[in-house]
């Protein structure tokens, strides 16, 4: 299996090269790009990013494994990231977590989504869903699944 960036992404990469003083800086933007293209970051994608940035594949792998939002395995189910940090905990994230456990989704507990004033909160496909109740979770998932 090989990995190639799409034509649109290749154009975007050429643009990005003009935005940074060094190719090294491209590793995060390109990891994001690969993840959006395939839904996850494969080892082949890491090799491709290594070629573009001229950094060893291991360097790219080290970076990919440091940041929790980079997924190195394909997600089979809808990924629901639920904040469990203090402000959300104080306002009922435990109840939301328990409720989600009965759903056909992949649950990921995350640390602080920056929605402390509208907690509890979950994030699905880059969108924050705030002030959650079990009923609201049902409504959101019904629309997405």
């Amino acid at each position: 299996m090989s990995f190639q960036f799409s034509d649109d992404n290749l154009k975007q990469i050429e643009f990005l090269k003009t935005r940074y003083p060094s190719l090294d800086a491209l590793s995060l933007p390109l990891l994001w790009m690969a993840q959006y293209q395939d839904g996850f970051i494969s080892l082949e994608a890491i090799d491709e990013i290594s070629k573009i940035t001229k950094l060893p594949p291991m360097e790219i792998y080290r970076v990919a494994t440091f940041y929790t939002m980079f997924k190195l395995q394909k997600q089979e189910k809808l990924l629901v990231s639920v904040c469990k940090t203090l402000s959300c905990k104080l306002c009922g994230s435990d109840e939301i977590l328990d409720h989600l456990k009965s759903k056909d989704v992949e649950i990921e507990y995350v640390e602080c989504l920056g929605s402390c004033g509208t907690s509890p909160v979950m994030q699905i496909k880059d969108v924050n869903y705030e002030n959650l109740t079990p009923q609201k979770v049902d409504d959101i998932l019904e629309e997405l699944l």
Binding site: P21, T53, V63, T68, M69, K89, G114
Partner: protein, 414 residues
């Protein structure tokens, strides 16, 4: 209570994020025109005189930091705007980038003029994609209208690492590496991005610049205190009636703020404690909150810190052992792992509180927790571990009886 809106003035206006509305409300006008008529050094002097302090948590004087940038370097200078905002309890910068991004862009243009930078990066936390899109839309509009005046702005997206809010870790991440904080230099100097001089400032700090240039240093000093002039977007979460972000002057009474904007404690309950400035600041008891002033000096004087101004409010039913456990899980997950006392200490202390929570703990375990905390303090590259140490000490120092009692009863759930 006097209400002041410097950064949040346009937040409630419909479509305030668009260029059309922003321009109708004065964006890219007085402040920017005044700034371009001034020499870079003159702008830095105004910022120094205003007493503007970094609003990302540290509270260092912004003008002093700006003056560390070389004015006659043969290398390009850069501005890095810190929008990592990952401190639990803190959600203020997202209000600026989603409700008045053009204020930030105008602040960036003035700052870049002052430090002779031609390129600014906005480092945004990965979880803020939906707000990043609004910000990018505003940047695109500014490009289309030719407002950027030969200054480029690029958004650089993080990917879920709390430590990247630390300025040197942020730059490492911007250089495409793991977000490992750098060793601090012995003397004060600017930051370096690929060996180029770079200024790192938080979003709200930069968004405060247009007001200062437009109204002068004295105009800004009309608000706040002598040593903490101006305002801050204080955030409030937890057990208050009206959670949210509200701008207030430095020096405002903490309880006044919580009552006035937050409507007090929800469900008619009593206040138990407040974490005053994001999770990494020392917890205050209800009695301390009643006396506290929201400024850097006061909170330091009582052994805590203003931090980001993100208050986490807890009512009388909150279980402090569970609250500390929750925070230690956060720190254990978010330690970058570079320094052993931090990498190991956060995990060990998390396990000890778990043991206490299970009812199998003892007073010796509480003492051991304090010993681990001591091991983490002052023995690491960045201030992450000392902050964890301080949080542990404040929870046990102020609520030790709850930790002791937990071994005998199950306590209340938070």
């Amino acid at each position: 209570m006097r209400e002041v809106k410097i950064v949040s003035k346009h937040f409630s206006i419909k479509d305030s994020h668009t260029l059309k509305v922003a321009k109708a409300n004065g964006a890219y006008s007085n402040a920017l025109k005044k700034a371009y008529k001034l020499e870079p050094k003159q702008i830095i002097e105004i910022i120094k005189e205003s007493g503007l302090r970094g609003k990302g948590g540290g509270g260092a004087p912004a003008g002093e930091k700006w003056s560390l940038m070389p004015q006659d370097s043969d290398k390009p200078s850069f501005l890095a705007v810190n929008c990592d905002e990952s401190e639990p309890g803190t959600f203020k910068d997202r209000q600026i980038i989603s409700k008045d991004p053009h204020l930030l862009i105008e602040g960036i243009l003035i700052t870049c003029h002052a430090i002779k930078a031609k390129h600014a990066y906005i480092y945004i936390r990965g979880e803020y994609k939906q707000y990043q899109d609004i910000l990018q839309g505003a940047i695109d509009e500014a490009y289309t209208e030719g407002l950027l005046n030969n200054c480029d702005i690029t958004i650089h997206r993080g990917a879920g690492a709390y430590i990247c809010g630390e300025k040197s870790a942020l730059l490492e991440s911007m250089e495409g590496k793991r977000g490992h904080p750098r060793l601090k230099p012995k003397q004060k100097e600017c930051e370096w991005y690929f060996s180029n001089p770079t200024l790192v400032n938080n979003v709200e700090t930069i968004a405060s610049v247009p007001y200062i240039i437009d109204n002068g240093a004295e105009g800004y000093r009309k608000f706040g205190t002598d040593k903490s002039p101006g305002t801050l977007l204080f955030a409030m979460s937890g057990h208050v009636k009206n959670r949210g972000v509200y701008e207030a002057e430095f020096g405002t009474g903490m309880w006044d703020y919580i009552e006035h904007f937050g409507g007090g404690i929800r469900d008619g309950k009593k206040l138990k404690a407040v974490i005053p400035g994001g999770a990494s600041t020392d917890i205050l008891t209800a009695d301390e909150v009643m006396e506290a002033k929201l400024d850097y000096e006061y909170l330091r004087s009582i052994g805590s810190a203003l931090g980001t101004g993100g208050m986490i409010v807890m009512d009388e039913d909150t279980n402090m052992v569970e609250a500390l456990k929750n925070l230690l899980e956060f720190y254990h997950e978010e330690s970058c792992g570079q320094c052993t006392p931090c990498r190991e200490g956060t995990g060990l202390s998390d396990k000890l509180v778990e043991k206490i929570l299970s009812g199998n703990g003892s007073s010796e375990d509480i003492d051991e927790l304090l010993e681990i905390s001591d091991t983490m303090n002052g023995k690491t590259i960045c201030v992450f571990a000392p902050a964890v140490s301080s949080v542990i000490n404040s929870f046990i120092g102020k609520f030790r009886d709850e930790f002791e009692a937990y071994n005998k009863s199950t306590g209340a759930k938070i």
